[in-house]
């Protein structure tokens, strides 16, 4: 009986005054540009400031956010369990190992995107906004049902784009699909300053000259990001990492405590390359 009540009315909703957190979808159109990494690190950086954050993996069938967060062993229930009443939201929310204000709601691995009802998913995001300051939704690649579900409950979007023609074209398409009703901002991911200097890679100006979005941050293509993903430890929590600092600044820009324009990552000097190999 108690469980039924809990399921219908979220516990925090009755006791604590309702928050109206921000729901931000991280999307790109193209796959493999770093949506999940951006979600994990931005979420970790936001939560590290003390804000309450929930990360929702909307990539049903290809669940990865838990793995990138290093929380795969703790997942007991997933988002479809919650939507179908198999588990309560509290059962399904996984608390992060490092940041206590950070939660994860994993996607179902053995189900399909078509199994998710768009309106129900949107309602779920809405109820999460009552409990958390930030709801970050990790959108799947593509522009089909999974995308429609992921953006349904979000009133803000972060476009992740790498400096590649395919990623920019897809990002442009997704911006169009997001419509005018949402605040859309840009993160340029995997920039190689050395290649940009030699005219072998699109620059941030080139990318945003086309997309024309408010720039939230620029992430360098650094080995540290891969290493942190290997370990399941968000690089944003590594105080010594320059890439981590880029993510922390993205978090501050989201919160509104940092007004300066994002720095474009600079090339590492010879000595930095020699001694700071993995930062």
């Amino acid at each position: 009986m108690q469980e039924t009540v809990q399921h219908q009315e979220l516990p925090a909703a009755s006791a604590v005054p309702r928050k109206r957190g921000r729901a931000i979808v991280i999307t790109s159109g193209k796959g493999g540009v770093g949506k999940t990494t951006t979600t994990a690190n931005t979420g970790a950086a936001l939560a590290a400031t003390g804000a309450s954050v929930v990360l929702v993996d909307a990539d049903v069938g290809l669940r990865n956010l838990d793995l990138v967060m290093g929380l795969e062993a703790r997942v007991r229930h997933h988002v479809l369990d919650v939507l179908e009443g198999v588990a309560t939201l509290d059962d399904a929310l996984v608390t992060d190992k490092r940041v206590p204000t950070l939660r994860l709601l994993a996607a179902a691995q053995t189900r399909e995107k078509d199994d998710v009802d768009t309106a129900a998913f949107s309602d779920l995001i809405s109820s999460l906004r009552d409990r958390f300051d930030y709801v970050l939704i990790d959108c799947p690649a593509g522009i089909e049902k999974g995308f429609t579900n992921a953006i349904a409950g979000a009133d803000e979007a972060i476009i992740v784009c790498t400096p590649e023609v395919s990623a920019v074209r897809d990002a442009d398409r997704v911006v169009g699909l997001l419509g005018d009703g949402r605040t859309v901002k840009l993160v340029v991911n995997r920039l190689r300053p050395d290649l940009v200097r030699r005219g072998k890679m699109l620059s941030v100006e080139d990318v945003n000259g086309i997309l024309r979005l408010p720039l939230l941050g620029v992430i360098a293509d650094a080995p540290g990001v891969i290493v942190s993903t290997n370990r399941g430890e968000p690089v944003a929590l590594d105080a010594a990492s320059p890439v981590g600092e880029s993510y922390r600044q993205i978090a501050q820009r989201i919160i509104g405590t940092l007004a300066t324009a994002p720095e474009i990552p600079r090339e590492r000097s010879f000595f930095e390359k020699l001694f700071g190999s993995l930062r």
């Binding site: 023609v165 920019v168 074209r169 442009d172 005219g199 072998k200 699109l202 620059s203 080139d206 086309i210």
Partner: protein, 182 residues
């Protein structure tokens, strides 16, 4: 050093190529002209121009590109030779100019799903090797477009492959506005 030499000899950096290719592809994305519509437009253009000159129909190329805040249509139609006497249109459109078309007559219009493209032969048209179709005066219809075509027969190359020739070609072609894609 090798890169420097490459740059010195005018080979564009690949990022510049990427930028240009992106610009063009996004343009046609935004125009939302379905490929079959572009194909139909190309067909009609060739048909009209063939009345006056022999064109290399297999190597015609119609593209759209962004210019400042407008989108222009570029038609590259290689010309094989002049016709001795212009052929009258097979199915005469109501406003079609009867040959000879040296007089500026009301141009035949192409319906382009909202946009209208008018094509007219320029009175002081080019030498035998080079046909230029210049913009006709726009009608009062707001989203109106003029089509321009330039066709040096010695160069039937695809425009996107060569930045230099594109520039030269653009100078010769009187390019024209199609409603901005935004």
């Amino acid at each position: 050093m090798f890169e420097f030499i490459q740059r010195f000899f005018g080979k564009p950096a690949s990022s510049a190529t990427a930028k240009e290719r992106l610009r063009l592809v996004l343009l046609s994305d935004h125009l939302s002209l379905a490929p079959d519509v572009v194909e139909a437009l190309k067909h009609d253009l060739i048909e009209v121009i063939s009345r006056y000159v022999d064109v290399d129909a297999a190597n015609c190329d119609v593209t759209f590109e962004q210019q400042e805040k407008q989108v222009a249509m570029l038609a590259n139609i290689p010309i094989l030779g002049m016709r001795s006497r212009p052929t009258p249109p097979a199915t005469p459109p109501p406003a079609a100019p009867p040959p000879p078309a040296r007089e500026a007559e009301p141009p035949p219009t192409l319906d382009l799903g909202g946009a209208t493209a008018s094509v007219a032969a320029e009175p002081d048209a080019a030498p035998a090797t080079n046909a230029a179709v210049a913009p006709a005066t726009n009608a009062a219809v707001a989203p109106a477009a003029n089509a321009a075509a330039a066709a040096p027969p010695q160069r039937a190359a695809k425009p996107a492959q060569n930045g230099g020739s594109r520039k030269r070609r653009r100078k010769r072609a009187s390019t024209t506005a199609v409603p901005s894609a935004g």
